[in-house]
Amino acid sequence: MEALQLFNKNETYNGFYVMLMVNRLQMLYFFLIMPRFLIHSYMIWVIIAVGILSQLNILLLSKWFLTRFSSDGYNGFVQLFGKKLVRLLSFIGLFFILLKLFVIMLGFSEMVQIFMFPATDSNWLIFFILLSCLYVAWKGVEKTIRFVVISFFCTFWMFLFFAFFFFPPIAQLSDLYPIIPMELSGDSWKGILLILSSFSGPEFLVFLGPWFKTNNKTFRYLSYGNALTVIEYVSLYMASLFYFGSNYLSKSPFPIVTMGRYFQNPVIERIDMVMLSLELFNIVFAGSIFLLLFYGASKIANGKVDKPPSRVGFLFSVFIILIGMILVNEWIWKADEKQVILLNLQILAGSLSYLVVPIIMIVAMKIKGVNKHETPKENG
């Protein structure tokens, strides 16, 4: 039997792949439920503002990608932080990866259950989705990164459909009034964090550095990905304001999918089902990336980084995740009041990781006194 080659590095991917990955990792789950938390029309400005903040993060990330630490992968981190700290950090990272994976998977399988298979136990759906993630992840990091192209082209055009809602009789300009905040409530902070958390995702690319072929154009590609996300968020949010009006928005649990149900086509009636199924490609892509990250991080945390990846080990970690997910689904996700706790936790964790990870990288580099101009990448 040949050895499982999860983390092999035979080829590197250029900026185009990085762009797709930034964009798709930002369009995972939160954008589907975001409108029901944002409600007010002035949140459009907040989305744009946070998008600009995210752009700053992207700038930091692109600086990181240009250093040799990035392309060295694990060894690069060890040089920066030292072995012990890396182990500790990857242990903490496990928590962030798990939380994100859980929220995405559980949230999405709940949606699939409600709109597509109402009679099916959601645990089965989780099982099937995770099984497809496992299949993709089994092919290794290289193939998984390549999978982003499929996931991107299956999903990115969907927001264009929502232009339908920008025309009368659905759209009335008064739905967007007042366009500046007239009074701020305590919940506004939550909205900002939610948006920030939705923008999070690209920070995980830090750990995939060895597979990227980075050069001066990387920043541009990363920015394109981020800008596309801002456009998608704003257009989807505006469409939902037009469709529901801000009063009803908070009453609709899955606003974007509900809007999808309003599309009509003489051939396919339930377009929302087709869209949800295609969105699954994106979820599977993100899921498999996170499975690989989880396995990698747990290997580092266990101090077994030098050993080759084993089939049993990888399967075992996926199995643990499956069991964990089913338990969380039964105990937490199904009860709405507990689900909110998990969502809030992810909102906090997502915003935190997105803000902190790039800064830590840059600060650590500064402390080590690395200047990127002095250390051009060899294989770049």
Partner: protein
């Protein structure tokens, strides 16, 4: 070796597929021959607060159709009872219309709307209709004569919705829900009347929140179509003046003064005279001008009465309150608006633009 591996892969896929069908986590049986995708439900008031639900079964297959009725206290309970009575299972995915009896509408239909909204199977595009008279009886009488009764009715509604042409009020679930839940607006629905085994469009039902309070008919309804729904009418007969306006297009403009006490409602109408049986010589520009003025004042008077009625009933299907919203100011409290609306002095102003029938420069 390789070949064997490939074979093993293929077999495992087949195995998984078989295993999936055997140990199916999908518990619903959706074999098409065993389903009855109902196209409409008709709700009316039953005894002691119950609801009478009826529909035609089987909806699709070429068997003899019959009207089924259940009296239940909950709508979904009614669907369950249909299943117990009929060999096919009811599915609501193809539901196109919900027909609500006038009496039920007067009691409020919020709960009915919420049932529909909560079921992801039911399309948000289903039409809501108010019916005056006994719809079940009409179905039973007509079913023998006209087999695809429900379908042709649906096609009629769809025809008028398509281009939003405003001949009759067509409201789907999504639109109704939005009008119901948005502040400063009240929903409205089309009303159909059953008389002598025939069903015909009667007018528009105005709702205060979810309760039917008034049905506007004939000329009032025509004006309502002009003001709100579609802003277009292919014909507008004004019997008092013995004139018919054709291809009427309207543009409305609302101005509210700063103290929010007076509203000027301007309606610009482009039209042409299609029929005239009165005394005037309408080829004479002067007479035409007179007629124009008469039509204008007639429309203003009628609209004034209609709007006054809306103010008295405290319903706002025209969404007049929305015009108080400004991009840079805090929206008014809805209760405050209702108080203002009741007292508001609403001035109606029609600007009529009728295409001359002759070249107005030519000397007669």
């Amino acid at each position: 070796m390789r070949l064997r591996k490939k074979m093993a892969k293929k077999f495992s896929i087949i195995f998984i597929a078989l295993w999936l069908t055997g140990c199916a986590p999908f518990t619903e049986n959706n074999i098409i021959e065993e389903l009855a995708p109902v196209t409409f439900l008709s709700l009316s008031k039953g005894d002691e607060g119950k609801i009478k639900i009826s529909t035609i079964l089987p909806p699709l297959s070429k068997e003899k159709k019959s009207v089924m009725t259940q009296e239940v206290s909950l709508i979904k309970e009614g669907l369950m009872d249909f299943n117990l009575n009929f060999y096919q299972e009811m599915k609501s995915g193809q539901m196109r219309m919900l027909i609500i009896n006038e009496d039920l509408g007067k009691e409020g239909i919020m709960s009915v709307i919420n049932v529909l909204l909560n079921d992801p199977d039911i399309s948000l595009r289903i039409y809501l209709i108010i019916v005056k008279g006994n719809f079940e009886e009409y179905l039973e009488n007509q079913l023998d004569k006209q087999e695809n009764l429900d379908y042709s009715f649906y096609r009629m509604l769809k025809h008028y919705e398509e281009k939003n042409q405003g001949e009759i009020s067509i409201v789907n679930l999504h639109e109704f829900k939005n009008l119901l839940y948005t502040p400063y607006s009240d929903p409205f629905l089309p009303v159909f009347k059953i008389e002598n085994d025939a069903i015909s469009y009667e007018g528009t039902a105005l709702f205060q929140n979810d309760k039917l309070v008034e049905i506007i008919t004939t000329f009032d309804d025509r004006i309502f179509q002009l003001l709100n729904n579609g802003h277009y009418l292919s014909v507008l007969p004004i019997p008092e003046l013995e004139v018919v306006l054709g291809h009427v297009r309207s543009k409305t403009k609302v101005d509210i003064n700063k103290s929010l006490s007076t509203m000027t409602y301007t309606v610009n109408i482009d039209s042409r005279i299609e029929e005239y049986r009165g005394e005037k010589q309408i080829f004479d520009p002067k007479d035409l001008e007179d007629l124009k003025k008469e039509i204008q004042s007639n429309l203003e008077k009628q609209t004034q009465v209609l709007v006054k009625k809306m103010q008295e009933l405290n319903v706002d299907p025209l969404q007049l309150g929305i015009h108080t919203l400004k991009p840079f100011s805090k929206p008014m409290d809805e209760k405050k608006w209702i108080e203002l609306f009741k007292k508001m002095d609403i001035k109606i102003d029609y600007q009529l633009n009728i295409e001359p029938l002759t070249d107005s420069n030519a000397k007669s």
